[in-house]
């Protein structure tokens, strides 16, 4: 697409729409971006494929750079609530995040608040050990709110910088599970009025259009402050994040790039767009 000298003909714009759709950007956004570029190419005389793609990237980047993508961890302790549908990568992301925080000189403690799924607490415990952080856990089947309560109290007592809260995967269509999430949030708010400082929705990069529905539903239940796109080391490009950022104005803050402790990066919009457009 971005080849120097490539003509800006119908084939170019068709290919562009295809690239965007193939990246899971969705039909609406893909066609809108293509139509806008077509107009701009005439108006601003963008020349060739290289010029047009550079202009498109710059335009998208201009919007994406208006977000503050840093985690808000100014308060001690700051609470980071991690939510999302089943299997998206929440537990693994928390392990990586605890490690990253430690590398940055911040202490953290993990609340193993997935008290439902088989071996969820065991899994979180392994990650806590790998990251060199403490874990607060009850027995399986315990009230997740109680685990969060204990974790925050422990963090306050020990003057820990960040509390990372792992929650059970839940499909946003399950009313009772979303209500449970609301309850967990209120436990946090009652203990620390400004908390949770971060509510991160973890989304698997292979997710298609359902990512928007997930984001809308979770945002309604517990106001999101950021997204984590996981499994970007795979072949999926996670293009749904563009529409989600646009519609919710919630930024992608972190990306998962593998299954290791170190495989978590700050989201880099420029690098991301380069990966989409080649």
């Amino acid at each position: 697409l971005a080849a120097p000298g490539r003509k800006l003909d119908d084939a170019f714009y068709d290919d562009l729409t295809e690239v965007l759709i193939a990246a899971d950007c969705g039909v609406e956004l893909s066609e809108r971006l293509t139509a806008a570029l077509r107009q701009r190419a005439r108006r601003d005389n963008l020349g060739d494929g290289a010029g047009a793609i550079a202009a498109l990237k710059a335009e998208i980047l201009a919007v994406m750079s208006t977000y503050d993508r840093a985690l808000d961890l100014r308060t001690v302790p700051s609470v980071v609530l991690v939510v999302g549908v089943n299997g998206s990568g929440k537990t693994t992301t928390i392990g990586k995040l605890a490690y990253r925080l430690r590398e940055e000189g911040r202490t953290s403690l993990i609340a193993a608040a997935d008290t439902y799924r088989a071996a969820a607490i065991d899994q979180m415990r392994v990650w806590a050990d790998r990251a060199g952080t403490d874990l607060v856990a009850h027995q399986p089947g315990a009230d997740p709110g109680a685990v969060v309560f204990d974790a925050i109290q422990a963090a306050q007592a020990r003057r820990v910088d960040v509390v990372l809260v792992d929650t059970a995967g839940r499909l946003h269509t399950k009313v009772n599970l979303m209500a449970e999430l609301g309850k967990i949030r209120r436990v946090i708010e009652r203990l620390i009025p400004e908390a949770p400082q971060e509510v991160l929705l973890v989304v698997d990069a292979t997710t298609g259009m359902n990512a928007m529905r997930q984001a809308l539903a979770f945002h309604e239940t517990t106001r999101l402050t950021g997204l984590v796109i996981t499994k970007l080391d795979g072949s999926a490009r996670g293009g749904t994040l563009l529409a989600v950022e646009e519609q919710l104005r919630v930024p992608v803050k972190l990306v998962g790039l593998g299954e290791g402790l170190d495989d978590l990066n700050l989201f880099d919009p420029a690098a991301y767009l380069d990966a989409i457009f080649g």
Partner: protein, 292 residues
């Protein structure tokens, strides 16, 4: 829904009595968009529309008072035909044990599905053994053990110091020793672009005879469903697909994408987190779900 969009799109032609082929093209575009919004892969969506075009420009559409409804019927019929075909459950070998291997991307639902299959197989009058062959994910073995414990399913945990292929062979041997006639290998999640991990699956097939390879795919998978299915099928040959998390509101276009690309049947649907939440695949219900 597609019927509403078609009604709107074709309304401007309704005054003239009979549609032209060009008018139908407007309707076919709506079909393609609807499929894309349902996560059907863009190449599969285009091929699908090309397939139905001939019927869609037939007289029963052009002369219909409700051409939109005619097109919806054509689309639905074609979807059901493509998704359905060979209805397939696990095929039990005349000489047991039947060895089933579950594969797929990270988090697609393999471990949970292994237990679900175990329960279904036991209810079928067979004796399943689950093999905890994921030795990389933290507490994966404990996860399968807990599911087994809660549902009275046998789980074998071969020596974690072995290579995965040898571990699976040991699991099959143990199952045979205990008179189990079906073995389910729960493997670690992996990317279809991870060649060394695809080799690991190939090594499993060399170390022990695998009769059925089932690919677990999350129903919310988008455009990459084609590449994922092709990647696994080209590497180790897939026999069937299980679509998981269908209790959500993902449209499930990945089902059509995979069926069209690798031509393997969708055997079951995962419809919840409980081990009893496994249902046989129903093509007509999947078709109306994709159409939305």
């Amino acid at each position: 829904a597609l019927s509403d969009r078609l009604a709107t799109a074709l309304r401007r032609f309704s005054g003239r009595g009979r549609l032209t082929k060009e008018d139908v093209e407007v309707g076919l575009r709506e079909v393609r968009v609807a499929l894309l919004e349902a996560d059907v892969n863009f190449r599969v969506a285009r091929a699908f529309v090309d397939r139905i075009r001939e019927r869609a420009v037939g007289n029963d559409v052009l002369e219909s008072l409700t051409p939109g409804q005619q097109i919806v019927k054509i689309v639905n019929d074609e979807l059901v035909a493509l998704l359905g075909g060979e209805q397939r459950k696990i095929q039990y070998q005349p000489h047991p044990p039947t060895v089933v291997m579950l594969v797929g991307l990270q988090g697609s639902g393999k471990t949970t599905t292994a237990a679900k299959l175990g329960l279904a197989i036991r209810r079928d009058g067979h004796r399943p053994m689950l093999v905890a062959a994921d030795i990389t994910r933290p507490a994966a073995v404990q996860q399968l053990q807990k599911l087994g414990l809660d549902n009275q399913l046998l789980v074998t945990v071969p020596d974690g110091k072995l290579k995965v292929a040898q571990l699976c062979a040991r699991g099959v041997a143990e199952a045979t020793r205990l008179n189990c006639d079906v073995v389910i290998l729960d493997t670690a999640g992996r990317l279809q672009i991870d060649e060394p991990l695809l080799d690991e699956l190939r090594d499993i097939r060399k170390a022990t005879t695998v009769h059925e390879v089932i690919l677990a795919v999350d129903a919310m998978t988008g455009q990459e469903a084609v590449n994922v299915a092709k990647g696994f099928d080209d590497a180790i040959h897939v026999d069937g697909v299980i679509l998981t998390k269908l209790d959500g509101d993902a449209r499930g276009g990945a089902a059509l994408s995979m069926r069209e690309t690798i031509g393997k049947p969708i055997m079951y649907c995962g419809t919840g987190e409980k081990v009893s939440d496994l249902e046989p695949f129903a093509p007509d219900r999947m078709a109306s779900r994709i159409l939305g």
